[in-house]
Amino acid sequence: MIVSQAAVSESVAPVAMGWGDVLSQQLITGVSNGMIIALIAIGYTMVYGIIELINFAHGDLCTLGSFLALTLVGALGMEAWAGLGGTAAVITLLISAAVFCGALNWTIDRVAYRPLRGKPKLALLVSAIGCSFILVNIALFWGGLPMEVFGGGNQAAAPKDFPSLISNENLLGAKSAITVTWRDLFVVIVTVPLMIGLTWLVKSTRLGKAMRAVAQNPTAAALMGIDVNRVIGSTFLIGGALGGFASVIYALYNNTISFQMGYRTGMDAFTAAVLGGIGSLPGAVVGGIVIGLVRALSDGYIEARWTNSVVFGILILTLVFRPSGILGAKLREKV
């Protein structure tokens, strides 16, 4: 999907593009996609930081967020909301998906992960893989809803078109060789405040302090009177909510969603988290943008069909040669 987006913006460009323009265009696409990946990566890195679980289900959680958004678009007829109504529609989608994904992520932790605290870590990981598969299947069934936006429900597995609620108009004017659309701007406008807010939350609030304490040493944190399970639950809630935001941004930016997209975006985001240094919030953001850029450049200069291999190759190389990632150098290896 990211692939087709890059291809479209290139072919639509009205003026012949020099190599510099092509490069800038790839960079713009890359950064926009990278911001989305970063937002999802934060969900992985927060959970890993606190309970050392690779939350496999996170990407598929985002899929469900997109499906909820598409359902709302169809049920409320949002395509017809013009002008300010369009903004209201986008805000409604963002908030409802965030609430939904946050609550769902909290529930998953409560049902599938919390009973396994203290058990071997691999049990937790296997349980997370199981949750991921369940969510994928729910998304598949959801795609079979008899609604017009879902293609009448006859093609449950087919990718769904997400209506373009945000204009694809070039902000630099129709004659410019480089395209920067409202959508690119929208991605930045939504993600940057979220990241700043999260940083504030983790650095300066009581809950954030508790999170950091639990991440450092759960037993000691519990002895200090911190309700560890509540803090872990809130981490899942916040990570899920960010994933919910990301899912709507993704759908609005790429205009197509499918029940399997969570696996791919999830792996991109996880790679980003590992690359940045898993457990580190700024690392997730940096890693996300790097992965976005790598994807765009690989689409443009290698071949789109190799892009996934490139990303996985980066993942493996990072894990083998620098498991602490770019920004995670100071991270203590927990045994």
Binding site: E52, I54, A112, P115, L116, K119, K121, L122, A123, L124, L125, V126, S127, I129, G130, C131, S132, F133, I134, L135, V136, N137, I138, L140, F141, G143, G144, G153, N154, A156, A157, Y263, M267, F270, V274, R305, W306, N308, S309, F312, G313, L315, I316, L319, V320, P323
Partner: protein, 360 residues
């Protein structure tokens, strides 16, 4: 132990399964159960899961890319035997070649990564699975891309005609010859796994799983030990891939060997009981029975009862697989993390038992 009568010694899960497997074709023919065809899949996946069991069950390394080795085996078999390539080996030589290529691929993946921690290793194997799929798809000069390689040779069994099996030929329409062939492979695989488990190597696997530090103190080098586990597991997975494609006489498209297959193998091992060979056999029957026999039957029953229409997303048994696999993993982890037939742990208990026995 040695005092137990013969019949008690034979009262074992694996022997019971073998007898049932031998009886099945007769029963199937008498009552038309249509079980022979799905059982072939069960046996192929049992071999795959036996391979995963060595890596994950015995050695304790979570492996999420078993499908990649199955794919490598499938393509190794196809390339060494199909007549559009220069090698054109027969079935048996090609299968040997497949096992060697699989083991080599296992070493290739293991060499740089086996020093990694558990969950990181899991992710690396997952990435390897995805890259393998992409490479097979994109290197279409060699692998024919999504078309797959075909046709592939059928096995030639020298004594087959002499013993009255001659009427059964290895063609895609005939199910029984394949059934017996696969059963033979499963028996060999089980014997190999069992002997390995009791060998010095196998005991080092268990030791590394239980406590890597302690094992190291006892003079076991963890990385080579894990490497042997990786190679053996990969070889078994490759053989399962080779068998699978020889049955269909085509590799199919690379997308067939996706993450879902790796997870299915993992489900089999977890349901059966990690590290338990009998458990893996039971798990294979349970999981594939669920996915390939029970789900289609339930789906067609639901359709004939009029609950779902055939075009609906709920009507196709394939659409339930993710849900079933996922629920199996989550529920098993909560309720019975040791599986249906838990492995008799372990070295420690075995030693104690030996100590109690009087010296001869």
């Amino acid at each position: 132990m040695s005092a137990a009568p013969m019949w008690k010694k034979l009262l074992r899960v694996d022997v019971a399964l073998l007898i049932l497997a031998c009886l099945l074709p007769v029963v199937d023919q008498r009552w038309h159960l249509d079980m022979v065809d799905p059982m072939r899949g069960v046996m192929v996946f049992a071999i795959l899961a036996l391979g995963l069991n060595i890596v994950t069950g015995f050695t304790g390394l979570l492996h999420l890319g078993m499908a990649a080795f199955m794919a490598i085996g499938a393509y190794a078999f196809a390339i060494s035997s199909c007549d559009i390539y220069p090698f054109q080996l027969g079935f048996w030589w090609a299968m040997l070649c497949t096992a060697i290529v699989g083991a080599f691929a296992g070493v290739l993946l293991g060499a740089p990564t086996l020093g990694l921690r558990g969950d990181y290793l899991a992710i690396v194997t997952l990435g390897f699975g995805e890259i393998t799929q992409d490479v097979l798809k994109n290197l279409d000069v060699i692998t024919k891309g999504t078309q797959g390689i075909n046709p592939l040779p059928s096995p030639h069994v020298p004594w087959w005609t002499a013993t009255g099996f001659g009427m059964l030929e290895f063609t895609s329409e005939q199910e029984l010859p394949w059934y017996w062939l696969f059963l033979g492979f499963v028996v060999v695989a089980v014997v190999v796994c069992r002997n390995l488990e009791r060998s010095r190597t196998g005991r080092s696997w268990l030791a590394v799983r239980e406590d890597e530090l302690a094992a190291r103190c006892m003079g076991i080098a963890p990385v080579p030990v894990k490497m042997i586990a990786f190679a053996t597991g990969a070889a078994l997975a490759a053989v399962s891939g080779g068998l699978w494609v020889s049955m269909y006489s085509s590799t199919g498209e690379p997308g067939n060997y996706d993450f879902q297959v790796s997870i299915l193998a993992l489900c089999i091992v977890i349901v059966g009981g990690m590290g338990s060979i009998n458990g893996v056999l039971v798990g294979a029957i349970a999981m594939l029975g669920l996915a390939n026999i029970a789900l289609p039957k339930i789906a067609s029953a639901m359709q004939s009862a009029g609950w779902v229409s055939s075009g609906s997303v709920f009507g196709s048994p394939n659409n339930w697989k993710y849900l079933v696999f996922g629920l199996v993993l989550v529920v098993m982890m909560r309720v019975r993390p040791d599986g249906l037939l838990p492995a008799k742990l372990s070295i420690v208990n075995a030693k104690k038992k030996n100590a109690v026995e009087p010296a001869p």
